[in-house]
């Protein structure tokens, strides 16, 4: 069935290093993907999105890569800062138009 999953439940990085958060999806028909950031006690916040006709998209300090061949999505955060500590979710646009969310990866930034 459809599923969106994350390879690692937790990720710990040193401040200033780059972070890479991965996501696997199973629905090859999905054509739109989103990354969200959720800080403790808050709602998910949109970070960046990508459509299936692209393989890379860059934002401010963030890059999303899409590999449709292996159905893999990643979020790269450059020069990770303490304020980046949060849970990161990927989501895919399934058939029927509903977003399916992954479980999330908790990013911890060490000073």
């Amino acid at each position: 069935g459809e599923s969106v999953g994350l390879h690692l439940p937790t990720l710990s990085v040193q401040e200033g290093d780059n972070s890479i958060i991965n996501c696997a999806y199973s629905n090859s028909a999905s054509d739109y993907f989103i990354w969200y950031k959720q800080e403790s006690g808050k709602g998910p916040q949109f970070i960046i999105d990508i459509r299936s006709n692209m393989d890379k998209r860059q934002g401010q300090r963030v890059t999303v890569l899409l590999n449709k061949t292996v159905k893999h999505l990643s979020l790269q955060i450059a020069a990770t800062q303490p304020g980046d500590s949060a849970v990161y979710f990927c989501a895919e646009n399934s058939q029927g138009g509903k977003l399916i969310f992954g479980q999330g990866t908790e990013l911890s930034v060490k000073p």
């Binding site: 054509d31 739109y32 989103i34 969200y36 006690g41 808050k42 709602g43 998910p44 916040q45 949109f46 999105d49 979710f89 989501a91 646009n93 029927g96 138009g97 509903k98 977003l99 969310f101 992954g102 479980q103 999330g104």
Partner: protein
Amino acid sequence: DVKVTQSSRYLVKRTGEKVFLECVQDMDHENMFWYRQDPGLGLRLIYFSYDVKMKEKGDIPEGYSVSREKKERFSLILESASTNQTSMYLCASSFGTAGNTIYFGEGSWLTVV
């Protein structure tokens, strides 16, 4: 910026009580959603609405109902709250066709005792 506002951040209710969770968005979005979020289970869709007075069941509608009388407002109703409905509830909205970016509110923490 998109603003999705959930009126109650923290609620404590007794078993059997009727509970209303209110949500308002200020971006004239057609679509509105209610999710619940639980540890280990992620985000699960309860109900959604594509237009005023329209509603569609999500993945876990049992024990819930919704109301959308105005485009900007989407209410989640627990007719008779139970302890297994203790959770964080997230309202969200999106523009246009289904599958566009969903913007979330800050969440409502509901505890049923």
